[in-house]
């Protein structure tokens, strides 16, 4: 373990935090450097996370903050799930921050970069932590920075979306705090493993009520059906690089927190049937309301709801295949949706309005961005050579594996949702390529700093789509870690 000392997962949180505090000082020195700090931060995060990932597949790293033994101090649980999501956050954050260097010009840029850096640090924190109050604090960092970033542009729609998001988010955090209070009152400890050890039967009323409070608190950020009313407004009126991160990472992290609570702390079993029905409901409502949208970013936001429903459905199958399928769908949705928002960002920047009708004939003016947008769409819909297909293949396989009739009906409904999703995405592709003016006046393609992240995301989508085994080696241990509560308790409490 000693050569691991420099590669300590806590650096993934401490270094970006230090950089964030450094930015105001550097801001006094010169405005130029500040723009590149998030890029450096996430590059560092990405490298450290990817170096740690192989070590973690078999034996998770338990980081004792402050040197105190877990139940008494806070511990970070850097298991395969945590490190997989942390590296995903770092890579996507790195790419989106390169995109944002040229994209964010108006408003207080220095403040934007700090908020962006801290948003993803909060996400990394939520993913790695092993203590429920620490989960609440990092969750709060994630939420407050997204409130501020949604209202960053100061437009009418941005402000309206952000106050609604703030009100619902803060209600969620209060419920989460009530849940934590109830749990602490009954079991006297805040450590996840210690709680898991003491909670024997989650169906007993007092434990169930605290579970419900925690799920509602976390579920609001995870955009499950009745709680996701904030998502369409927030993701459509935020600046595109922010909505790329919100849609790509923030909801996934919220959902990870819900899944960690359900699987590890409460070891839930037949609660998942309710959760499965909720997931399918989210898919249908997300896809159908996306079908009738006129504004492109709002449509992408609703399709995020649909995809989240699919991930919830996959996790609630609660078999090794199902959980691995859910994680894989998370990865492919993050890559695909971030790519779509980045492309949409510059398309809207060039055409000036978010209406789909204004995007006609953009394929001529911005060929590379339009191509990346098409590939992103194909990946989200789940057409073969891209990651979306591989993850959907895994989920359907998991659904059909144990042959229950309920699962087959639900997977049928999910596929109906996918067909509706295919319909409205292909309509956009037609608007981009086959409609609108023939005159190709000034061809202003997106700048290079925007094209590099898009093309890297496209290459990720194609490579992982063609060779899903690369990621499968990480998914299987991650799924077994999530499912196996006893091993979690053993590795943390020793």
């Amino acid at each position: 373990m000693n050569e691991m000392s420099i590669l300590d997962p806590v650096l993934l949180i401490a270094i970006p935090l230090g950089l964030a505090f450094l930015i105001p000082l550097l801001g006094l020195v010169s405005k130029k450097i500040v723009r590149w700090i998030p890029v450096v931060g996430f590059l560092f995060n990405g490298i450290v996370a990817l170096l740690i990932l192989p070590h973690v597949l078999k034996q998770p790293i338990i980081v004792k903050i402050g040197g105190f033994v877990p139940p008494f101090g806070i511990n970070l649980y850097a298991g395969s799930v945590g490190m997989l999501l942390a590296s995903l956050i770092a890579i996507t954050g790195f790419l989106v921050s390169i995109y944002a260097v040229k994209y964010i010009t108006k408003g207080a840029e220095q403040k934007y970069h700090i908020l962006f850096l801290l948003l993803l640090t909060g996400a990394t924190g939520v993913v790695l932590t092993g203590d429920i109050f620490n989960l609440f604090v990092f969750f709060e960092i994630l939420c407050i920075s997204s409130y501020a970033l949604v209202a960053y542009l100061g437009t009418r729609s941005g402000l309206e979306a952000s106050i609604k998001y703030l009100i619902q988010g803060s209600i969620g955090s209060s419920f989460l705090l009530i849940g934590i209070g109830l749990l602490y009152g009954q079991f006297g400890t805040l450590n996840m493993a210690d709680l898991a050890r003491q909670i024997v039967d989650y169906t007993e009323p007092s434990v169930f009520v605290s579970m419900v409070f925690m799920i509602t608190g976390l579920g609001i950020e995870a955009a499950i059906f009745p709680l996701n009313a904030w998502l369409p407004d927030a993701h459509s009126s935020a600046p595109s690089s922010v909505s790329a991160v919100l849609s790509g990472i923030a909801i996934e992290v919220g959902l990870y927190a819900v899944i960690r609570v359900l699987f590890t702390i409460f070891a839930v079993s037949n609660f998942f049937i309710f959760f499965m029905v909720l997931g399918v409901l989210t898919v249908l409502i997300g896809e159908m309301s996306a079908f009738a949208q006129k504004n492109i970013k709002r449509m992408l936001a609703y399709s995020s709801i649909g995809q989240i429903g699919l991930i919830v459905f996959a996790f609630s199958i609660s078999t090794q295949l199902g959980v691995a399928g859910g994680l894989f769908q998370m990865v492919s949705h993050t890559l695909g949706k971030a790519l779509l928002f980045l492309c949409a960002g510059y398309m809207i920047f060039r055409t000036g309005s978010m209406e789909i009708s204004s995007l006609e004939g953009i394929g001529k003016k911005m060929p590379i961005t339009a191509l990346c947008f098409t590939i992103g769409t194909f990946s989200i819909v789940g057409l073969p050579p891209f990651t979306g297909f591989a993850s959907k293949f895994m989920i359907i396989r998991a659904a059909l594996a144990n042959g229950e009739l309920l699962l087959q009906i639900l997977i049928g409904l999910v596929l109906v949702g996918t067909i509706i999703e295919g319909a409205y995405f292909f309509k956009i592709i037609q608007t981009i390529y086959f409609k609108g003016a023939h005159k190709t006046d000034n061809r202003e393609e997106a700048p290079v700093t925007a094209l590099i992240p898009m093309l890297i995301l496209v290459s990720f989508i194609i490579v992982i789509g063609m060779f899903p085994n690369i990621i499968d080696k990480v998914l299987q241990p991650a799924a077994s870690e999530l499912l196996d509560q006893v091993k979690y308790i053993g590795s943390v409490l020793g």
Binding site: F133, K164, L166, A292
Partner: protein, 119 residues
Amino acid sequence: MNILYDYIYYAGAFGLIFIGIFTMMVKRNYIKVIIGLSILETGVNLFLISVGYISNGTAPIFSNPGIEAKNMVDPVPQALVLTAIVIGLAVLSLALSMAIRLYKHFGTLDLQQIKEQRW
């Protein structure tokens, strides 16, 4: 009667929580909703502290040598509430700064009229 005495703090805390939630649910003015939010947060903090209370315990501070560690009140919820109060302040100041911007854009703070973002 001692059932009431035992649960008076819980009753107070959850009373505040329910009043806060009810205000946020029903009221239309944005500032009034934020007031409801601050009451909700105070209620939650009160609940957390009353969870950690030990009847006839003492404050967890060894100010003079005479105090022994046996019946001290639980320090952990106090640490949590410290953080929660400051988080509450952070959220409220952000919310109210947006209220100022909102008023400049929409000219009203009535949430029923601020609904351009729907469907």
